[in-house]
């Protein structure tokens, strides 16, 4: 018996009905490799009802009507016959029904900044206008070294051009001595410019070709790319590689129990690798060098974490230390959200860290490592001393332990059985703290 036979065949009663029937046509074994066609062939497009089509036509006619005779007359006043012909051709190229169905105003940041004004050339969107014949293409446009007379003529032209740029309203009629001096300076500058201009040294018979010699695109120095000023575009711009999902961050967010679309940077979370060095493990087979990184992370508002990472690959080590820093984040008690509760001292290894609370506006005047820690934790007023060893790793760890292990006045009062009253709440109506 075949294993493929279903079990119900076994348990079925042996009667005439249980006898094997001839297989239906669909289960019939095919003798070709060509896949069989389904029973009913479906059209490639959904069938459109006649009523819908009429409605669409009506809509298209009302929304995008043809030009009336009055409109044509008005257009003829504004455009030349060839432009009119182009407009008509453009109108005919687009079906008004398509326009009704699909045409809508763009709302994305990449939309064109104009609707139909093509007089302006946009440096980003449009192609730059062609250079008027690169020198040497045809005989008239070919540039050659200028003769003495041509040079003089060119100089005069260019100086005039420059002066026209500096004095768009023309030279002052009766100048004061000061204006006279300024004018002389301007002429001097214009002459200097004219000598540097390539049009002085080379001449082309074709005026356009001659003018194009001064085009900055002929310059050997690369032009600066045009910039997009829109902030929306800058913010939403995506580059190659940025689209790649960071699996490590996804895992970190999952471990922290935060939603996957959390933007850490937007929420004020920052991190920084502040200690990095090579370490080596001496084994009997030799030294195994690896990279050690210590990263601090915080939300600049009372959360602080310190994480270590070690790996043979430096990138791996950095990434591991960052995720450890985020995972180790703990709240830091802050007095008035700006400084610490009283002075703290912590000793770790040979490092002794003394942190002192300071009044508002004092700033963070500390060792650079403690400064970074205070920045991540959102402590604004702090003084610190590291009187003994200044081992970077231990300074960071000692500071982190000192900050997290602060004793709160309420806890001390509770332990001593004292009643504690915050007088600031009385004086400032509870607006502080």
């Amino acid at each position: 018996m075949s294993v493929c036979r279903p079990a119900r065949c076994l348990f079925a009663k042996s009667s005439a009905a249980a006898l094997p029937k001839p297989a239906s046509s669909s289960q019939c074994r095919t003798f070709t490799t060509t896949p069989s066609r389904p029973a009913r062939r479906r059209p490639h497009y959904p069938s459109v009802k006649a009523a819908d089509m009429t409605y669409l036509k009506e809509q298209a006619a009302t929304k995008h009507p043809d030009y009336a005779a009055v409109d044509e007359a008005l257009l003829a006043q504004k455009y030349t016959p060839s432009q009119l012909a182009a407009i008509r051709a453009a109108e005919a190229a687009i079906d008004p029904r398509d326009l009704t169905l699909q045409g809508k105003k763009r709302n994305d940041p990449w939309k064109l900044p104009y609707d139909d004004d093509l007089s302006h050339v946009d440096g980003v969107i449009d192609h730059a206008d062609k250079l008027h014949g690169p020198p040497g293409r045809n005989k008239r446009a070919r540039a050659r070294e200028a003769s003495e007379a041509e040079r003089e003529a060119a100089l005069g032209l260019i100086v005039n051009e420059q002066l026209a740029k500096m004095y768009p309203d023309g030279l002052p009629a009766d100048p004061t001595p000061e204006e006279e001096y300024q004018r002389e300076q301007a002429i001097h500058a214009a002459v200097q410019q004219a000598y540097l201009d390539p049009r002085t040294s080379f001449w082309a018979d074709d005026a356009a070709a001659w003018n194009s010699l001064a085009d900055p695109r002929h310059s050997a120095i690369m032009q600066e790319l045009p910039r997009i000023d829109s902030k929306v575009v800058q913010a939403t711009a995506t580059f190659e590689g940025q689209e790649v999902v960071d699996e490590r961050q996804q895992r970190l967010l999952h471990q922290l129990g935060w939603p996957q679309d959390t933007n850490l940077r937007q929420k004020g979370f920052i991190h920084k690798a502040i200690v990095q060095h090579f370490v080596s493990n001496y084994t009997r087979l030799g030294k195994i060098a690896s990279f050690y990184v210590l990263t601090i992370a915080g939300n600049q508002n009372g959360l602080l974490g310190v994480g270590e990472g070690k790996a043979v690959d430096s990138e791996e080590a950095v990434a591991a230390s960052i995720s450890n820093a985020y995972k180790n984040m703990k709240p830091i008690p802050r007095y008035e959200n700006r400084t610490i509760f009283g002075d703290i001292e912590k000793k770790l290894g040979a490092v002794r860290v003394q942190l002192q609370a300071r009044p508002p506006g004092f700033g963070v005047r500390t060792n650079h490592l403690i400064f970074e820690i205070a920045r991540m934790a959102g402590i604004k007023d702090l003084a610190a001393r590291v009187p003994r060893s200044r081992n970077k790793m231990n300074v960071v760890k000692a500071t982190w332990e000192a900050l997290t292990a602060q004793k709160l006045p309420e806890d001390i009062a509770r332990a001593r059985g004292k009643k504690l009253v915050d007088v600031r709440k009385v004086y400032y109506g509870g607006s502080i703290g």
Binding site: R414, A415, R416
Partner: protein
């Protein structure tokens, strides 16, 4: 007024706290007694008891007389005693309302001051205790200095009270008291020790 012995007491209390002892003893002097009462007032220690070389019986474990004995007639007393014999001896968790007499040795040399230490959330309440005046260099401060010190400034070569919950004890004409109390009462004196 031996500051040497006070230094020993400071160290001993720190050590006892680190060792998580519940009860410890120090030599009896008037200075120690006054300072310990000051500490108790500030809530650093739970009890101060005069006793002998052996620790006093824990108060709550002692058999409490139900009424002051003087008020009881002899007959009633006998009856009550019979009643008490039937009831369980321990009154757990109740504040003692009675006074009891601890046996204090007649020989002053054998007397000890028994101090009950406090702990909160697995941490000692009294963490650190250091002398400020030293046996070789005693420091006297006036109330102005004390006002500065309690505000966290250094004055009269005494560092300010800048740590959270830091206390300083000063011996004055009116007895040993905390620095802030002295400022309130405008008293000066010799600074003894700082306690955290």
């Amino acid at each position: 007024m031996s500051l040497v012995n006070l230094a020993h007491v400071c160290s001993h209390l720190q050590n006892a706290s680190k060792a998580r002892l519940g009860l410890t003893s120090i030599p009896v002097t008037k200075l120690h007694v006054a300072l310990m009462l000051g500490l108790q007032k500030q809530g650093f220690i739970s009890s101060v008891t005069l006793g002998g070389p052996a620790p006093p019986k824990p108060v709550l474990l002692q058999k409490p007389p139900k009424y002051p004995p003087a008020l009881l007639k002899a007959a009633e007393q006998a009856e009550l005693e019979a009643e008490e014999a039937a009831t369980p001896e321990v009154a757990w968790g109740r504040a003692p309302e009675w006074s009891y007499k601890e046996v204090v040795p007649a020989n002053p040399g054998q007397r000890r001051l028994w101090v009950g230490l406090k702990y909160w959330k697995n941490e000692p309440v009294l963490n650190k205790m250091h002398l400020i005046s030293k046996p070789t260099r005693r420091i006297w401060v006036n109330s102005d200095d004390l006002a500065k010190i309690t505000r966290g400034r250094e004055s009269a070569f005494v560092k300010g009270l800048t740590k959270t919950g830091e206390c300083m004890f000063v011996t004055t004409d009116k007895g040993i008291m905390e620095a802030r109390e002295c400022v309130e009462k405008k008293l000066g004196g010799m600074v003894l020790c700082r306690v955290i």
